[in-house]
């Protein structure tokens, strides 16, 4: 028995049929819509690699049931900006050469984008507090902080 779900992702409307309406959003994005992000990191909302925006708020798509987001506007990293029209954070990330393996990238950029929206000029401590809980195994934290500051300065 499948359920029809309507989703708006990065400005495009989609209808998908799922076996389980409690399926986390992550699998709809990757599996049903064929998107390459967000990444599966832990599936436990502990790392952030699967962060997307739902109505502008950063949420962890690996534990968010589809049924809870069906009418919401979802933005992924791919929808945040493009190489031609990058979000300031994406431009800053390139400038600072932040990612190493980069698998964590959705968490940091999407969370920082939401942070900068509510607080366009955060202090060093506000950046750290705002991004607390996200994981980066390569240890790129210093570059992440530089990039967020650079993006804030661009805005």
């Amino acid at each position: 028995m499948t359920t029809q779900i309507h989703l708006t992702v990065d400005g495009k409307k989609h209808t998908i049929a799922v076996d389980d309406p409690n399926m986390p959003l992550l699998y709809a994005l990757r599996d049903e819509l064929g998107m390459d992000n967000p990444h599966f990191g832990c599936g436990l909302a502990q790392c952030g690699a699967f962060t997307v925006h739902v109505d502008g708020q950063a949420i962890r798509s690996c534990v968010t049931p589809l049924a809870a987001v069906k009418d919401a506007k979802i933005t992924t990293l791919a929808g945040l900006g493009t190489a031609e029209h990058p979000h300031p954070l994406q431009a800053a990330y390139v400038e600072e050469q932040v990612p190493q393996c980069g698998y964590c990238i959705n968490g940091w950029i999407m969370t920082a984008a939401a942070l900068l929206k509510s607080n366009p000029h955060p202090s060093d401590q506000q950046i750290r507090d705002g991004l607390s809980g996200l994981k980066c195994r390569c240890g790129t934290h210093m570059a992440i902080i530089r990039a967020v500051k650079r993006a804030a300065a661009m805005a």
Partner: protein, 759 residues
């Protein structure tokens, strides 16, 4: 025939793919050579390690592609290789594309390994580029009818030095054609591979590209969410797989209730001997099936010691192998006779997990007997060999394609995933995408080994070390090999009944301290289980470097204290040359205050501040780290606030990428020093996620990391991927002592340890 010979044999019979080369592995932000590489009509030719064409191609537009048998884990090794090749060819770096880690397009250069990417991996590429330049200049000499020594090259154009108008481009000379030039090959495959055609190399004084800072080629693709990861590979008709691990270590499968997942669309069980997995066309259904599947397992006796007693267990365990290694000088016993003071200490380091950002993923397709395996393994050529051996197919029928994995700092779970995906694909006759759940990459990957270290030294009347003995005992660093070419080194191989065949290996401190009498040794103990152990060991970034040098550099500090000498001054009394220069550079950058370490001021203050230093070498790369810590007496929490690092790895190819690589090492090293310890009970590993295996949070990241890069263009690069992981724990431990007077001899430096040590 061994695996390497197999791989070589298979390499020698293939090279038909150059026509469509590159598209799979070069990111969309790669330089202009990409487009040309993707369309270059170069006639198929087998990969042959003696042939220049196996390493380098000049396209019709004059751009170059190099075929590099290693991979890049995100530090920019490929950019460095492009710079080295561009330098020898007198091209800008952005005219050189790098194809990496594809077993059909690159000769096995050992994959990512031991920080050798530039050091060893760059050598044959540099020689090949120099050879190509010589060949092209000679060709130009014929065409222009001017002796070669009257010719110069700039930007891919050969011209007459005295009449620059007379010129011909690389593109015209050879674009789209093979060189057909043989070079002398040293007969080795893997890290040691080298070729040399005898062409002279450019003098470091003339470098224009090496030493500059072009940007990484994968960053733009990653930032804009392009499909660059192995997790992004999709093959038509593929199913998703999840493996089921035993509930406790050592348990074997008794029975599976296939009906228990009947309600999940398309889900089915894959089981052979002790190996158990589920597949489903939809990923979420595979996950649900894995969670829902009922299976019964044997209930073996507990395989592990009491977790609190692991270090006693190691001390009491039988020694399987003892090796005296590293610098050996004089006689420690004789030296001790002249000692006025003797210091001894013991140090302990826990099992640590690779805990990559995501658990490993692999995709496998088998079509007409030909196997394609997409893997994030650091060593794709060995994954090719392992898959071939496991499936019982000739290695030339396996094509391994490396794509960036969800993180990689050693032999993590990627090799296991590659062999499992292939095994399942063969069993079900469909393409398979396998990714581990979180516990696969934290609890079930192979671990960095737990160890104990015993140090003893004597000081003479001048406060110098006169005799020094350092011994480590622990689990081998190689219970599973550093690559997956042998199924015995994979979980699926072991679950199919092949027992672990561990290699005994550990290590000793690497430094240049001038000590007249010195002996260093290590001892390994048997693995806890002979197969499928979640506490089996493998290489984790700077294999055994952090543990050994936490111990040795803490001990040097203890000796400095015994000699009533400043920690920097004490080290400098025993060092000269580049080593001493690096210690001074780190101390200067840090603003080191010269004094005997130990608490000052108000011992009852809530926040206590201290500074510490550690100096280490790793295969001729010298790293010195000075750390400032704050210890909160109330909570026992340690904050590593500030670092100054001096880094000498010989010739610096790309200072900007080196800087970011060092920063990552310092932060990761801080995480390992302050937080990381694999928890387990007597039956299983209980560190299964980020809650139970915490790593450093951004709120704890240092405020500042100052890095001094000591460049020696005349010294060939000695490696930078991991050496700066090595001194971090020692520097922090020494700073904690300086702040509090508490000498921590066990990692990680948790609040419980601090609180437990407070008077």
């Amino acid at each position: 025939m061994n695996a390497i010979t197999n791989i070589l044999k298979s390499d020698l019979t293939r090279r038909g793919i150059l026509k469509s080369a590159g598209a799979l592995v070069i990111s969309f932000s790669a330089p202009v050579a990409l487009a040309e590489a993707a369309t270059a009509a170069i006639v198929p030719k087998p990969l042959d390690p003696t042939q220049l064409d196996s390493y380098l191609a000049v396209h019709r537009d004059g751009s170059v592609t190099v075929f590099f048998g290693k991979i890049d884990g995100g530090q920019g090794t490929d950019v460095g290789i492009a710079q080295i090749v561009a330098e020898e060819l007198d091209l800008p770096a952005d005219r050189v594309a790098v194809v990496m880690g594809d077993s059909a397009l690159t000769i096995n250069q050992g994959g990512a390994s031991g920080s050798f990417g530039i050091t060893w991996g760059g050598k044959p590429m540099r020689h090949a580029a120099a050879e190509a330049r010589r060949f092209l200049v000679n060709l130009a000499s014929e065409r222009l009818k001017v002796p070669a020594d009257k010719l110069s090259v700039a930007n891919g154009t050969v011209f007459v030095t005295d009449a620059p108008g007379k010129k011909i481009t690389y593109a015209k000379l050879i674009g789209g054609k093979f060189f057909n030039v043989a070079m002398k090959w040293n007969g080795k495959i893997g890290n040691d591979l080298d070729v040399d055609g005898g062409a002279p190399l450019k003098k470091p004084a003339d470098y224009k590209v090496v030493g500059t800072a072009p940007k990484r080629r994968d960053v733009v693709a990653k930032v804009f969410a392009k499909p660059v990861y192995v997790t992004d590979v999709r093959v038509p008709g593929m199913v998703h797989a999840r493996v089921i691990r035993p509930p406790v270590a050592g348990a074997t499968l008794v029975s599976v209730d296939e009906a228990s997942i009947k309600s999940i669309p398309g889900a089915r069980v894959v089981q052979k001997n002790g190996f158990l997995a589920v597949i489903a066309p939809k990923e979420w259904n595979a996950i649900r099936a894995a969670q829902q599947l009922k299976a019964s397992w044997t209930q073996p006796a507990p395989a592990f010691p009491e977790p609190g007693a692991i270090y006693d267990y190691i001390r009491q365990a039988p020694v399987r192998k003892r090796v005296v290694e590293g610098t050996k000088k004089g006689s420690v016993d004789d030296g001790m006779k002249d000692a006025v003071k003797v210091v001894t200490a013991d140090y302990e380091w826990p099992f640590q997990s690779h805990a990559s950002m995501g658990s490993a993923c692999a995709v496998c397709e088998i079509k007409n007997g030909k196997v394609t395996i997409w893997t994030g393994s650091q060593k794709p050529h060995y994954a090719q060999a392992g898959v071939a051996a496991l499936l019982g197919v000739p290695p030339e029928n396996v094509h391994a394609i490396w794509m960036t994995g969800p993180g990689s700092y050693g032999r993590n779970d990627a090799g296991d995933a590659a062999l499992e995906a292939a095994f399942i694909a063969q069993a079900v006759g469909k393409p398979v995408r396998l990714q581990g759940m979180r516990a696969e990459g934290i609890a079930w990957n192979a671990k960095g080994p737990a160890s104990v270290h015993h140090a003893r030294a004597g000081l003479d009347a001048n406060g110098k070390i006169i005799a020094y003995q350092f011994e480590s005992k622990g689990f081998s660093r190689l219970e599973v090999d550093s690559n997956e070419s042998n199924p015995a080194d994979s979980l699926v191989g072991q679950q199919m009944g092949i027992a672990l065949k561990p290699t005994d290996s550990f290590g000793t401190p690497d430094d240049s301290y001038d000590v007249p009498n010195r002996l260093m040794a290590w001892e390994t103990i048997p693995p806890l289980l002979d197969r499928v152990s979640p506490l089996r060991t493998s290489h984790l970034r700077d294999p055994v470097g952090p543990q050994i040098h936490f111990a040795s550099e803490s001990f040097i500090d203890e000796l400095a204290l015994a000699a009533n000498t400043d920690a920097v001054e004490f080290r400098l009394k025993h060092l000269t040359g580049r080593d001493a220069a690096a210690v001074k550079a780190a101390a200067d950058k840090f603003g080191w205050d010269t004094r005997v370490s130990g608490p000052r001021g108000d011992a009852k203050a809530d926040i206590q501040t201290g500074r510490g230093i550690a100096y280490t070498k790793r295969l001729n790369t010298i790293v010195v780290v000075a750390a400032e810590v704050e210890v909160d007496r109330r909570t026992g929490k340690v904050r590593a606030k500030r670092f100054a690092v001096a880094h000498d790895c010989g010739c610096i190819v790309n200072p900007a990428l080196l800087h970011n690589t060092i920063e990552g090492n310092i932060v990761q090293g801080t995480s390992r020093a302050l937080h990381e310890e694999v928890r387990f009970d007597r039956q299983k590993v209980t560190s299964v996620d980020w809650e139970t295996y915490p790593i450093l949070d951004i709120t704890e990241a240092p405020e500042k990391i100052d890095i001094v890069l000591l460049d020696h263009p005349e010294i060939p690069p000695t490696g930078a991927g991991e050496p700066s992981s090595r001194p971090v724990a020692g520097a922090i431990a020494n700073a904690i002592f300086d702040a509090t007077g508490i000498r921590l001899r066990r990692a990680p430096f948790t609040p419980a340890q601090i609180k437990g040590s407070q008077a």
